[in-house]
């Protein structure tokens, strides 16, 4: 059966946008081997069903432990969000304005080139975000991969979830909490480089005069999140 048309999926298809795969992943997750997937293939992927082919690719990649990063996008009141996970846990949440392609490219450089759109792996994260935006969830319970948080920024990022839902803290209070009371400006840049916005609540950090301060997702998004939490 290996020579049937169904199995001769041209490998260059794997890298096209039509199946939503980053081209960096093509080398590792080609679909050129063995008959053990024939049943799956028949069930999931008629020769012309691109979605089915992609689902098969996801399953194959998952079975073989081939993925460095899986990702999907979700809609939210603060615009489309990109969610990315490693086998360890959620590693990145990105706002539309950051440019999803640029973010995925950075992830491939940093975490490994095998990056694939695989929504199923992020179902739980997507569900919790949906509940958060609906006002029914006040804390996230997800495994997180802190690989993108190092040094001082890592200390700040790990601390942030202690600022509870509906509450805020000043940059100075966060600086004191991580043991460097005067390093207010480094807290500012740590918040600005939070790899897991929304889930790790850097939006709850404000200037000591109560004004908003910067936000990766823009002032409007920060305001919207604070309004959501105060209204709930």
């Amino acid at each position: 059966m290996n020579d049937t048309p169904e199995n001769n999926v041209p490998t260059d298809r794997v890298g096209t946008d039509a199946v939503g795969t980053k081209s960096v992943a093509t080398d590792s997750v080609g679909m050129d081997s063995g008959g053990r997937d024939d049943a799956l293939l028949e069930r999931l992927a008629p020769a012309t069903d691109v979605a089915g082919l992609h689902r098969l690719l996801e399953l194959r990649a998952e079975q073989d432990g081939l993925l460095d990063v899986s990702y999907r996008t979700v809609d939210s009141p603060v615009g489309a969000l990109l969610l990315a996970t490693t086998p360890v846990g959620l590693v990145r949440v990105a706002f539309d304005r950051e440019g999803f392609d640029a973010v995925l490219e950075a992830l491939a450089t940093r975490l490994g080139p095998r990056v694939l759109r695989a929504p199923a792996k992020l179902d739980e994260a997507a569900r919790q975000l949906e509940e958060y935006f609906a006002g029914t969830r006040t804390a996230f319970d997800l495994p997180l991969d802190r690989a993108l948080s190092t040094g001082f920024r890592g200390q700040v990022h790990v601390y942030l979830p202690q600022i509870s839902y509906g509450h805020t803290a000043s940059y100075g209070e966060v600086a004191a909490a991580v043991g460097s009371p005067r390093a207010v400006r480094a807290v500012g840049s740590a918040c600005a480089t939070n790899p897991l916005p929304v889930v790790v609540p850097c939006h709850r950090v404000l200037r000591s005069d109560g004004s908003l301060g910067g936000y990766l997702g823009g002032a409007q998004a920060k305001n919207a999140l604070l309004a959501l939490e105060h209204a709930a």
Binding site: S149, T150, A186, A192
Partner: protein, 201 residues
């Protein structure tokens, strides 16, 4: 070392530089082409950290003149190679007139190389040091407005010591942050201000 009470000096080329970079051609070229430009790789930052440590108590001109000899003696500051140095290497370095023969600093460099290798588990030395970048940079208008330490350099010094590094005081760490572009302490209006690309002018 980078601060002074005297005003900037106008060079023959019409460009203003701080006094430390105005006279000696070696320092002038270094100021014009290296100082303050971003270093973001592990080897580069390990070299810089090591040379800043050797500098303490001496002039930067001395270190800069000896830099080629330092690079030769320390295997181009490859952290893996330096981390594996033993007593025979310490003896070799103490006998090398091309470098600064200070036993404590030589041992600290080897210690720091090992700490640099260990830091890879946390994302590496470059990410670690840059994680102390403030969200704003000083805007000195006169040389005496240039700080010699900052809350961030203090926090960096503390954090590096916690990771096993030696000879990493807050003043040395501020000099490092200036030299590798983490802060821009060029005087406002100087021809080098903003050239790192890290800070919008």
């Amino acid at each position: 070392m980078m601060t002074t009470d005297s005003p900037v000096v106008l060079g023959e080329d019409g460009l203003a530089r701080p006094p430390w970079a105005a006279a000696d051609p070696l320092l002038r070229d270094y100021y014009d082409t290296e100082w303050g430009l971003p270093i973001r790789d592990e080897r580069g930052l390990f070299e810089r950290l090591s040379l800043e440590a050797f500098q303490s108590g001496l002039s930067w001109a001395t270190i800069l003149r000896k830099r080629p000899a330092f690079r030769a003696a320390f295997d181009n500051f490859d952290p893996d190679v330096v981390a594996a140095y033993g007593e025979s290497d310490v003896q070799r370095l103490m006998g090398d007139a091309g470098i600064v023969r200070n036993l404590a600093k030589i041992r600290a460099t080897i210690t720091n190389a090992a700490a640099t290798v260990r830091l890879r588990e946390q994302g590496g030395l470059a990410e670690f040091i840059w994680s102390f970048q403030p969200d704003r940079t000083p805007e000195p208008r006169t040389p005496d407005e240039i700080p010699t330490t900052s809350p961030e350099s203090l926090a960096l010094a503390k954090a590096l010591r916690r990771e096993g590094f030696a000879f990493v005081g807050p003043t040395t760490m501020f000099a490092l942050m200036e030299a590798v572009g983490i802060v821009d302490t060029h005087l406002v209006g100087s021809h080098r201000r903003g050239t790192s690309g890290v800070w919008a002018s």
